[in-house]
């Protein structure tokens, strides 16, 4: 392993230590710590969960239980661009399943997976609260509304660069 990469691992670990320190005296700190740890690492692999377990003195089984309970936490890495298709009721009755089919076809991955080049990951989410614009998708923080399957190509083109 090059020294460069080690430095980056250390940097993340230092941030994790800071997060845990910040929540030291707060009741029910595990979920906020997991949120922030995921921001640092992009996901929550077993190695990170083990570190949190040791440093917070919480059994690993309990941490794994929490991570797998909530949909916001992921055991798998996400793509650079996270594509979430809203599958809330308002979007569903307006054909969001067709949008999702199109995205699966275009990206060549199924829900929960990440493309091989690490560019896109695909999620089906419950409701992002933009029901007035149904059907909607979200790519990272950008929301695209009032979609039809034909719009997908043009939108994905904007995210070509890795």
């Amino acid at each position: 392993m090059s020294s460069n990469c080690c430095a980056c691992v250390d940097e993340k670990e230092r941030k994790l230590q800071e997060i845990i320190e910040k929540y030291k005296n707060i009741n029910g700190a595990l979920i906020p710590v997991l949120h922030e740890a995921q921001d640092v690492y992009g996901y929550l692999p077993m190695s990170v969960q083990k570190k949190i377990s040791e440093k917070m003195n919480i059994p690993l089984s309990e941490i794994y239980g929490v991570v797998t309970f909530y949909t916001q936490f992921s055991l798998k890495p996400k793509g650079k661009y996270k594509v979430s298709t809203c599958m809330g009721t308002a979007c569903y009755v307006k054909g969001s399943n067709l949008i999702l089919d199109k995205l699966k076809e275009k990206l060549g991955i199924s829900v929960g997976d990440c493309s091989e080049d690490g560019r896109f990951s695909l999620e089906a989410c419950r409701c992002i609260g933009a029901c007035g614009l149904a059907p909607v998708i979200m790519i990272n923080d950008d929301v695209y509304g009032k979609l039809s399957p034909d719009d997908i190509d043009k939108i994905l083109d904007k995210y070509k660069d890795l």
Partner: protein, 598 residues
């Protein structure tokens, strides 16, 4: 203080933000600068106006002119015509045919004129990131009244008198809940707010959090004073980044003004408030599950009693209300319970906010007095169904609710009436469906949701809903039998009577209500193997009508699975065994010779 001759209000809610309202705001700033009027006209970012479908929305005062679907290119015209020359830009104003010739100010647009905005009173009016604007609209006046003029029991008495009921779904009387928590044993009590709006298709709470965060904070401080608590928690969805940001800003501002923290307004009362982010679990909308989640654990519900009012967060008596309920509190105190009771129906006072979505023209947020009929909401406010389609049903209560068929469109919307007809008020999602929606498919959609969101703690919910979903998949897959319908009914009854929490107990509702009003659709799927709405793919057939086919071969070229064959001068044919029902052939046929057979 600076004086401005005009104000430009730009919606900064999630809907309009995704329709690029930030870019429009920048363009306004540039154009005002260019015309040398940036010192005369003030730009204000507000919360949601409610008419998300027509976004981005810009309102110009003093006229109250509402511009809809504004594009960046339109800004120049609004600035030069309206703000410089004083002429309204009519082509961009809300399209309301009835009020065509009136001033078309905000109050006259059909969407708004039939609404009574109490919980949403400040949304779209003030800048949610500025506490002074909230204070200018009587903000924190109720807190001052409570702390300096009222005893805690007076506050509770006033809330009880107002008849306010919980807006989270079940409709429990709020004043009674406050009284029970106040009387519970223990000195250390907690105020909590459920801002984990999990019902897919509902975004009322989001709008209040984004558009008027101080009204929630003020109400929670008042609640703390009334029941004797010094600590509060807001459990908010992590999926609402704008709401989280604005809540954080609002809490800091309230601290700076001495409205949160020690000795609030110079009294002995102290109160602090913390945000806790949810992590995406629908079951956490259930009160005991929400409490377990704030404690940092898997959000699994617990049997009741003990109720949270007796033993809640960290075993302390906890008062838990949802965002919309809290948003009503300050105005009830400032205007009085007597005023509040003049609005609403006999059993339920005040208003309810609905997130109206689906097949309706004016999708968005609507606040109406409780007891308003569904017809008024769908037609007078919602502007009817698009594309000349027929209204088929309205779904309320999300995965815990049911469908209201067209025959009951004149039902007044109230906690009791909705329950009687097999639906529920729920948190306020109101999804409109037209003739193109298959009711069996909708029931399956909600069951998929519940199966995924079931926490797995109790078997009736974990296993029972899964079995129901399997039956629905059989039916929509064209493999159902008549006894499957009976099985659904039996399973529903058993799950309702034996599941641990509200999620499980209400999970069969979407199936039961669609069975009640749309049984013929289930039978069509089972007996005739047909989906009358043409939604269920397995029962659909694409066919090429021989006399219209010109044998051009475009369909065969575009078919992704090679299911279409033919040759010159002979009509093409689709091999139904190979067809995956993607519909590409129908889309591509230049002669419209391909039809969807249902």
């Amino acid at each position: 203080m600076d004086y401005f001759r005009a104000h430009v209000l730009i919606c900064g809610g999630t809907g309009c933000t995704s329709s690029h309202s930030p870019k429009i705001q920048q363009e306004f700033a540039d154009q005002l600068e260019k015309n040398n009027i940036s010192k005369e006209v003030k730009i204000v970012t507000t919360g949601c106006f409610g008419l998300c479908a027509q976004g981005p929305i810009v309102v110009v005062y003093p006229e109250g002119a509402m511009y809809t679907m504004v594009r960046v290119e339109d800004v120049k015209e609004i600035v030069e015509e309206h703000l410089v020359k004083g002429r309204l830009v009519r082509r961009l104003m809300a399209g309301d045919t009835e009020a065509e010739d009136t001033s078309k100010s905000l109050e006259n647009v059909g969407f708004f004129k039939n609404q009574v905005r109490i919980a949403l009173r400040n949304c779209g009016t003030i800048n949610p990131e500025n506490i002074d604007e909230y204070i200018a609209y009587d903000g924190y006046k109720a807190l001052q009244m409570a702390l300096t003029e009222m005893k805690p029991e007076d506050v509770i008495a006033e809330i009880k008198k107002s008849g306010l009921r919980g807006r989270g779904g079940a409709g429990f009387p709020t004043g009674l809940k406050w009284e029970l928590t106040a009387k519970a044993e223990g000195d250390d009590k907690i105020i909590a707010c459920n801002a984990d709006e999990g019902d897919p298709g509902a975004f009322m709470d989001r709008s209040v959090l984004e558009g008027d965060p101080h009204s929630l904070i003020e109400a929670m401080i008042i609640a703390g004073y009334a029941i004797g608590a010094n600590q509060g928690y807001i459990y908010v969805r992590a999926e609402y980044p704008i709401a989280v940001k604005r809540l954080n800003i609002a809490i800091e501002q309230a601290k700076d003004y001495g409205l949160l923290g020690k000795n609030i307004l110079g009294t002995d009362f102290s109160f602090s408030l913390e945000l806790r982010l949810g992590a995406g679990a629908f079951v956490c909308g259930e009160e005991t599950a929400l409490i377990t989640s704030i404690e940092g654990k898997r959000g699994e519900p617990k049997p009741k009693p003990p109720f949270p009012a007796v033993r809640g967060l960290w075993q302390k008596p906890t008062l838990l209300n949802n965002v919309e309920t809290y948003a009503n509190i300050p105005i009830i105190l400032t205007k009085g319970a007597d005023w509040f009771t003049t609005i609403g129906s006999e059993k339920s006072k005040g208003t309810k906010v609905f997130a109206v979505g689906g097949k309706i023209n004016n999708t968005g947020l609507v606040e109406v007095p409780i007891g308003t009929t569904l017809r008024e909401v769908v037609y007078d406010i919602g502007g009817g169904i698009p594309n000349g389609k027929k209204f088929k049903a309205a779904q309320t209560g999300g995965p815990s609710g049911g469908c209201i068929p067209a025959s009951l469109i004149d039902t007044p919307i109230d906690y009791e009436t909705l329950k009687e007809i097999g639906s529920m008020m729920g948190s306020g999602g109101l999804i409109i469906m037209d003739e193109d929606n298959c009711m069996v498919d909708i029931a399956k959609f909600f069951l998929e949701f519940t199966v995924e969101e079931s926490c797995g703690k109790c078997p009736p919910c974990r296993i029972g809903t899964k079995r129901m979903l399997e039956i629905l998949e059989r039916i929509t897959g064209g493999k159902g039998e008549m006894e499957d319908i009976e099985k659904l009914e039996i399973l529903s009854k058993n799950i309702i009577s034996s599941a641990l929490c509200g999620l499980g107990q209400s999970a069969p509702q979407p199936v039961l209500s669609t069975l009640r009003y749309f049984k013929d659709e289930y039978i069509a799927h089972v007996k005739d193997k047909k989906c009358p709405a043409g939604v269920c793919k397995s029962m659909m057939r694409y066919v090429i009508q021989a006399d219209l086919c010109k044998s051009c071969g475009i369909c065969a070229k575009n078919c992704p699975v090679g299911a279409i064959t033919g040759e010159k001068k002979v009509p093409y044919v689709i091999d139904q065994d190979k067809c995956i029902k993607c519909g590409v052939c129908m889309e591509k046929c230049p002669f419209k010779a391909i039809f969807k057979n249902v």
